[in-house]
């Protein structure tokens, strides 16, 4: 009797709707409140510190309370200084990133797609990679002067290596089985590169570009330490020399936000290219 009822439910439309319902509710509660849990720790620490300084338990001279950092950020934003510095830093990262990424993509593609060029290029590039990039600074300053060119060069070098390695590795690891599909349909070398290799390496290329961008932000700080009069890195140095820890922390926060925003933009911009991916997590 029960079995009969169940089979009826399966065949009727109401039954099908009832069966589909759980899946729909699952989709609706897509927002997971546990995400907010991540904010708990930093906010708790900030409030504790704020309270400690306000109650006179701590001086807050070397470690300024959050309210003072926010006030400093606000002040810098009001005078427009924050924007000029941010813009300068962003511009340097952008130029260095574009140069480094283009070079990394081109050389990585060459080295990944042909054994001859790989044997020609790769040993040299691997040897250069072993040098800590900051070690180039004195040479870059001698060659390119202390202004923009040497800074951009350092950032470009930092961006280049992860992109080069990522692209070359991605091409080398393309599934032979998919390449054979291209052979069966008699694609030329160029068609094979465009229709199979390029899409196949895109996901890894995006990851390579993201780590390149991350390193770009790392190296812009180093670059701005070596005698800049503008940029968030300059704010850091200036804060140290003038004994303004609130300014240092304000600049660090600006760096964090800037890096995160740039990374998110890169992810959002490349998302349409890799949305076919069958990965565990929607977002990396």
């Amino acid at each position: 009797m029960t079995g009969q009822a169940t089979s009826n439910a399966w065949s009727s439309h109401e039954g099908a709707a009832a069966l589909a319902a759980p899946a729909l509710t699952e989709k609706r509660r897509a927002f997971d409140w546990r995400i907010l849990l991540g904010f708990f720790l930093p906010i708790a620490v900030a409030l504790l510190w704020e309270g400690a300084v306000a109650l006179g338990l701590a001086q807050g001279r070397l470690v300024p309370p959050p309210s003072r950092i926010i006030a400093t950020l606000w002040g810098l934003a009001q005078t427009g200084e924050l924007w000029t510095h941010t813009w300068m830093t962003l511009w340097r990262v952008l130029v260095g990133f574009v140069i480094g990424a283009v070079a990394g993509i081109v050389l990585g593609a060459l080295s990944g797609s042909s054994k001859t060029t790989r044997q020609l290029l790769d040993p040299t590039l691997q040897a250069l990679r072993a040098i800590p990039s900051i070690a180039w600074v004195p040479l870059f300053i001698l060659w390119l002067g202390i202004f923009e060119a040497s800074k951009v060069a350092l950032i470009a070098v930092g961006v280049f290596f992860p992109v080069y390695l990522g692209i070359a590795g991605a091409i080398l690891s393309v599934d032979r089985k998919l390449v054979e599909v291209g052979h069966v349909f008699r694609l030329s070398r160029v068609q094979l590169a465009r229709r199979i290799l390029l899409p196949a390496v895109l996901p890894e290329a995006v990851i390579a570009l993201r780590s390149g961008l991350g390193l770009g932000f790392m190296f812009v700080v180093a670059a701005e330490f070596m005698g800049a009069s503008e940029g968030l890195g300059y704010l850091l140095v200036d804060g140290q020399q003038m004994g303004k820890p609130d300014q240092i922390l304000a600049a660090i926060i600006a760096f964090a936000l800037l890096g995160k925003i740039a990374d998110s933009l890169l992810v959002a911009g490349t998302k349409p290219l890799v949305r076919w991916q069958d990965t565990v997590r929607e977002r990396l």
């Binding site: 998919l178 599909v181 069966v184 349909f185 008699r186 199979i196 899409p199 991916q277």
Partner: protein
């Protein structure tokens, strides 16, 4: 007509995968290759598809000697091998590069409806089941209207029900243009369901042991006595392919027998 003449393949590591294969497949014929694991069935298909080069012998399609991938030869691999960045319909259209947009669309949607996936046209391959993916890859091979279609155990990963329905889809597509089909299978029932002729192969080195014509009328009744008889005949031939006079130690023979009883 597809003709294999004295075809041999020895891999770089010295494995003799195929030795002196001679086989003629007539136009529109469905031939099924049966044999134990490692007797060179995949190797044979890869040679015909032009993905590997033969060590000796040649392959002729009508009056042409095949030396590489040929537009008139299509292949369905053991795995679907869909391009994950293309939608289902774009995957099917992959081989239709020189075809005009309107005709391409018509041919793709016709192939889609033939394999019963018309409502899945715009989905990603990752969102399809294994059997649906394999149907897409069959449609991708058929849509270019090849003269010769090679199928390498295309249904071996699927359950019996799905397999039976795919047999129907396959025969439905075959009926339209009647290509020459070479079907590799582990499944004797499948061979008797689909093929006009069964070729039984033998390993080490891979060669042809026996040929059995399957003259049952289509559509074939899987429950009838003629079907059973054909199945039994192939099984006997397979059995012979194991017991063939070979100076092999008993243990090695047992190991092979175990491999053959899929």
């Amino acid at each position: 007509m597809l003709a294999l003449e004295h075809l041999s393949k020895t891999y770089a590591d010295g494995t003799r995968a195929l030795s002196d294969i001679n086989l003629t497949v007539h136009e529109g014929e469905i031939v099924s290759l049966i044999g134990g694991s490692g007797c060179g069935k995949t190797t044979l298909l890869r040679l015909i598809a032009g993905l590997d080069r033969a060590s000796a012998g040649r392959i002729r399609l009508d009056d042409e000697v095949l030396t590489g991938p040929h537009p008139a030869v299509g292949i369905v691999f053991q795995e679907p091998r869909l391009l994950p960045w293309l939608s289902v319909s774009d995957n099917i259209a992959f081989g239709l590069d020189g075809v005009g947009a309107a005709e391409k669309k018509a041919r793709v949607s016709h192939a889609l409806s033939k394999v019963g996936l018309i409502e899945h046209a715009d989905r990603w391959p990752r969102d399809l089941s294994g059997g649906q993916q394999q149907r897409v890859s069959i449609a991708r091979a058929f849509v270019t209207n090849p003269k010769v279609l090679l199928l390498d155990e295309p249904f071996s990963a699927l359950d019996a029900f799905t397999r039976a329905s795919l047999h129907e889809h396959l025969l439905g597509l075959w009926e339209e243009t009647r290509p020459t089909v070479v079907l590799v299978t582990h499944d004797v029932q499948e061979a008797v369901t689909l093929a006009d002729r069964a070729i039984v192969m033998q390993p080490k080195p891979g060669r042809i042991l026996d040929e059995l014509p399957l003259t049952l009328s289509r559509p074939r009744d899987r429950t009838g006595l003629p079907f059973e008889t054909s199945v039994r005949r192939i099984l006997t031939a397979l059995d012979h392919s194991l017991k063939a006079p070979q100076l092999q130690p008993q243990r090695e023979r047992d190991r092979q027998a175990a491999a053959l009883w899929w």
